[in-house]
């Protein structure tokens, strides 16, 4: 037989055989994908932030489509709009999304505290923390090298005057910054709350006070003056129980160092230049 013809026949028949096998496989092993998954996925913003508790937007869409009784309002970046669309697709009742914002539990900027050394190493909070707990005098406070700035999907964080500020108008409440911060200074809370302890120092009052003029000294004035018993002092640091807090602001009025802040977090940039006006 002609060798060219033979080559053509053999290669073509192998190719056709492969194609036939693939066609048969595609027919018999095809997986029926739930159409709702795609439709729900379209509604989600696609930030893959994980705030819903699932592995990215795809994971949440799959869970919503396949399992009963999952809340449709878990997507915080998507907000009410996404929740409403998903509820329509699934035919369930729509619930409001609890808007969340990230807040920084430190106000030790350049006016309140200073450095114990000049740090010239790797410019990341993670690295600086490993080097004697960072350059700041207070080893609990914001290091200010901006690891949180890097992970924020919405550019809501900036470093001003040595500490991280979160623009609550831009914050989508995904909590990536809270996971990244090596000092665990950032928490995500519902934006209806407005009382915030802006300190994370757990040292004794006198020691903390020497390091930062904004530090919580654990004096318990807030505990004594809170009408609803929402504040406790643990490890020399005031903590607010948001289940009980009524946003009355008594704690902030009686705080001698002014480390308790009361303001509306829903869409107001807390730290204006005239920040004394914002603090009670």
């Amino acid at each position: 037989m002609n060798p060219i013809l033979l080559a053509v026949i053999v290669v073509c028949s192998i190719g056709i055989l492969c194609a036939v096998v693939l066609v048969i496989a595609a027919r018999f092993f095809s997986v029926e994908e739930n159409e709702k998954i795609g439709a729900i996925r379209e509604c989600l913003p696609g930030a893959n932030c994980g705030a819903c508790g699932y592995a990215g937007c795809d994971g949440y869409a799959k869970a919503l489509a396949e399992e009963e009784g999952i809340k449709t309002n878990l997507c915080i970046p998507g907000g009410d709009g996404a929740a409403r669309q998903i509820s329509e697709i699934l035919g369930v009742e729509f619930e409001d999304v609890v808007e969340q914002v990230a807040v920084v539990h430190c106000y030790g900027d350049c006016n309140h505290t200073s450095h114990k050394m000049d740090y010239d190493g790797i410019q990341s909070c993670q690295a600086a923390k490993m080097f004697y707990g960072g350059a700041g005098k207070c080893s609990f406070g914001c290091i200010g090298l901006g690891d949180c700035v890097g992970v924020c999907p919405n550019n809501a964080i900036c470093i001003e005057n040595g500490i991280a500020h979160i623009d609550t108008r831009k914050c989508i409440g995904c909590g990536l910054c809270a996971k990244t911060c090596p000092q665990k200074l950032i928490t995500v809370m519902a934006d209806v709350e407005s009382v915030l302890v802006t300190c994370n120092n757990r040292e004794k009052g006198a020691v903390a006070r020497q390091k930062c003029s904004n530090a919580c000294i654990g004096c318990k004035m807030c505990v004594k003056n809170c009408p609803s018993g929402a504040i406790s002092v643990e490890d020399n640091l005031a903590r607010v129980d948001y289940e009980k807090c009524t946003n009355c602001g008594e704690c902030a009025k009686h705080c001698p160092v002014g480390c308790i802040l009361v303001s509306d977090f829903s869409g107001i940039h807390r730290y204006s230049e005239d920040d004394e006006g914002q603090k009670f």
Binding site: V10, I14, G15, C18, V21, L22, A25, F29, V31
Partner: protein, 196 residues
């Protein structure tokens, strides 16, 4: 048995596909940023190499060589490997969705990976029998996994290094890949001594 172990050790260490033969450099540079991704890619490559060898060796021996068509092997192997990987993807999606979710994104990358094609062709060029071919493929896959994991470690160190401006990014990655390859050069000649 001894010759099989020599084949295995040779293909893992001495003739490492990435670091000595410079095949499969694309995934080596592309997927080695994170350790778990690198390991996932490595495992997927081992799987596909074994499967590709198991299919291409009989095709070569019983169809191509018999008909004097051994010069067509490159084209036929590409054809067979590509459709094989597609088939595996379809079957994995149906029966092992968990495995598909972890390996799935790497499978299309492997379809056109020269390391896989290189293994199947080299098995023929070295005139290995079927068992030897399978052992050689396993070794090459393990060598690929080893190179990926080692280099992922090197790259995680590079993240925090502060090289001069001109070296940032790909240049320093290629320089460090060259140094890792250089270290594998030290294995040449070791294997013969191991079983002497």
């Amino acid at each position: 048995m001894k010759s099989l172990i020599i084949i295995l050790m040779t293909s893992v260490l001495v003739n490492n596909y990435v670091l000595s033969k410079f095949l499969g450099i694309c995934p080596f540079l592309g997927v080695s940023k994170k350790l778990n991704q690198a390991a996932g890619m490595g495992v997927a490559v081992i799987f596909v190499m074994l499967l590709a060898t198991a299919v291409t060796w009989p095709i070569y021996t019983y169809i191509l060589a018999k008909n004097g068509l051994d010069y067509m092997r490159t084209i036929v192997f590409i054809l067979v490997i590509a459709s094989l990987v597609q088939l595996v993807e379809i079957i994995l999606k149906k029966y092992m969705p968990a495995l598909h979710a972890s390996l799935g994104i790497y499978l299309p990358l492997i379809t056109t990976n020269c390391a896989v094609l290189g293994v199947t062709l080299n098995n023929i060029n070295d005139s290995y029998n079927f068992i030897e071919s399978m052992v050689n493929s396993l070794g090459c896959g393990l060598g690929f996994l080893l190179a990926m994991v080692l280099f992922a470690g090197v790259r995680s160190r590079l993240e925090t290094a502060n090289p001069p401006e001109a070296f940032k990014g790909l240049p320093i990655t290629l320089v460090s890949a060259a140094i890792v390859a250089l270290s594998f050069f030290g294995f040449s000649g070791v294997v013969d001594g191991l079983f002497a």
